[in-house]
Symmetry: D2
Subunit: 125 residues, 4 copies
């Protein structure tokens, strides 16, 4: 799954680059779009366990950015998604990384085993 | 009521100044501290109806900032609080403004008349 | 000028509504798009003098939002733009407001008189 | 190095928890304080290469948070700092992680070898 990011003026910090923390917000945009596409709304949901970002090349004002989300490792109750933020015109890699989510039922407050059908959908984004 | 703000690196945008939207976050820090001091937790709460900011002098990295909250007009169901963001060392005015709140009971989803006791507390911050 | 906003999960605060400060970021998206469309890059630029927001109806998760920017009063060295944030499906008004900008040359660090050609472009967004 | 965080209302997202991206902002507060304490201002500076966050326990409104920064691995031109965000009253671990920085001279736009004196200061925070 890939789509364009609507960058905001205050995504850029006083160095003139997209601030490091904002990449987790971009990842979140990608993750939530992937989740809605694969699963929809309702229970179970997920909790975030871990996030990793590699800062590859600073994004500067005026550059159009896109995010790509792809499937990573799949565990029994958790799974990893990978992210690439690129400059749209050139494809230059700005940042990449991954997050690990745990399948979680907020109504029962407990983790949930990922069944085969969901495994296919989470891995097929 | 006056207290120091813990500024963050990404409060500053690519112009090297605290971004305009961040002042509403500073006002919110002041407002919530004033509310807790005057009223505490629980119902009624309030909803925000209006916010005004005047940008007086840019805040640059390295400057320590403080916020001051003071009472403004008091209506039947709403009231105004005023804010001054200053540079702590010199007292230089960075931004000022005001917000109007409506007393609101989230449990009944209705506005609430400000009684005399609350009026005194909201006006005495 | 009107366009869709790409809302972010952390635009919403613990009340489940778009946080008040985020509307100034939405206004900024609208303002910068209007500025680029009317003027482009380079000098002069502008500084922000004042911002006003009226919170009309809370925006909740799942709602698609759009922003509309329109011309307001025009002064000798400053001008006002107006903003409406609406829910796209119904047109429901979420927030409106205005900001006042002062035409400013960052290279000479001085305010600039708005000439007739620029007046037409700033007023024609 | 350890100090208190001034949490903000919009640090919390619609789940009622500090949003995941905000932890990188907390880390940045810790990192910049550690850098100023160890090195001060001026060149060389650093660029951020990598950030990792483990989300251990959600932080909820009303909890006072603190951050602790400690030294991690030291390379030739890069070094790692570790972060722990804790609930102040109980010491409960909220999130931990690390970031890797590369020593960088912005005036010459090149990476810099960490000399012995700097190594001691970066490792002694």
């Amino acid at each position: 799954m890939r789509f364009s990011l609507q960058t905001r003026f205050n995504d850029y910090d006083s160095k003139g680059h997209v601030n490091n923390a904002v990449y987790l917000t971009y990842f979140e945009l990608g993750r939530n779009a992937a989740w809605r596409s694969a699963v929809g709304d309702g229970e179970p949901g997920f909790i975030l366990a871990r996030a990793l970002v590699n800062f590859r090349s600073p994004a500067v004002p005026g550059e159009a950015l896109a995010i790509e989300v792809s499937a990573g490792e799949m565990g029994t109750r958790s799974w990893t998604w990978r992210y690439h933020v690129v400059e749209e015109a050139s494809g230059r890699l700005i940042a990449d990384g991954e997050t690990t989510q745990v399948l979680y039922d907020y109504s029962t407050r407990s983790t949930v085993v990922i069944d085969e059908a969901l495994r296919a959908r989470l891995g097929g984004i």
